[in-house]
Assembly symmetry: C2
Homo-oligomer: 175 residues x 2
């Protein structure tokens, strides 16, 4: 299926592959919603909350690599479904502590994985060496993409979770 004869279609191939992956992830989320009443982002957040115990919204945000404003909407939907509970902290009234309800904990226990089961399973079926290749390639792409706007995406693991440093908007980088 790969035609090496085409000269520089490589970056297009990469872009197309990325877009297909993104689409695939989205489609799986909708599938998940039909099965377990929650979407992938919701499940991911709920998992983080169950695992860590009561935590602030900002902590959730950093934990799952999504912006705080995105988290608000997800928590809203989880709360409406009775899966999480929001409570203003007494010590610092700016903070909202989010915790899982019994219902939420139960759901987490039996929900499917937030990512393609198929992907996960098939990945594990591959020869270890190929698994390595894939991991490394993907991480390579991440590096290549991050190189430029470092402060844009909270990435880099290690240590405490990243946090974005917003200021610094300079005008110019290139493009």
């Amino acid at each position: 299926m790969l035609d090496p004869s085409v000269p520089n279609a490589l970056d297009l191939r990469v872009l197309t592959a990325l877009r297909k992956i993104i689409r695939s992830v989205d489609l799986y989320s909708r599938e998940l919603k039909n099965k377990s009443e929650v979407t992938a982002p919701q499940l991911i957040c709920l998992l983080a909350i169950v695992r860590n115990g009561p935590m602030s919204a900002t902590s959730v945000s950093r934990e799952v690599f999504l912006s705080p404003s995105t988290i608000v909407g997800i928590l809203d939907r989880l709360e409406i479904k009775g899966l999480v509970k929001r409570e203003r902290s007494q010590k610092d009234r700016r903070i909202v502590m989010v915790s899982a309800t019994p219902l939420g904990t139960t759901l987490v226990a039996r929900a499917p994985s937030p990512i393609q089961d198929v992907l996960k399973r098939r990945l594990q079926e591959l020869p270890l060496r190929e698994q390595e290749d894939i991991s490394r390639s993907l991480e390579r792409v991440v590096e290549l993409m991050e190189a430029d706007h470092v402060e844009a995406a909270p990435i880099l693991e290690l240590g405490p979770i990243p946090q974005k440093t917003t200021q610094e908007d300079k005008g110019p980088q290139e493009f």
Copy 2:
């Protein structure tokens, strides 16, 4: 958060990488918008239209791997900006032919790549063999994700078959 000592962290590595890539693509799209007035999805569609000449909306949809309903919104925004033109076909009045305006063609000529310039540039700097590795790995992931639910029949439980996956995040670290 990721502990390299854990044996089968490979699938986690893959998922975390995918998640970061998706986020990075999204952030770049916003950056692109500030620079060239169009987002990445808009530019990708416009590129397809300029490259192929006048084409139906459905063709665009297939070309860029997005659903027709998504395309409608993107075309709306491109049309408002005067970059494309919609015309009902005479032969088959169900079809809407989309073509780029001179303005749209001009924009395409000087717009940055819809994919991170950095990524593109750096990708090209790598040894050809590594470029191939990356492309192949990404395409492999696409296969793994798609392989399964090509056409599952809605036989079990309620409703039509599920599908989900959203573009946004997929579960990162543990789950």
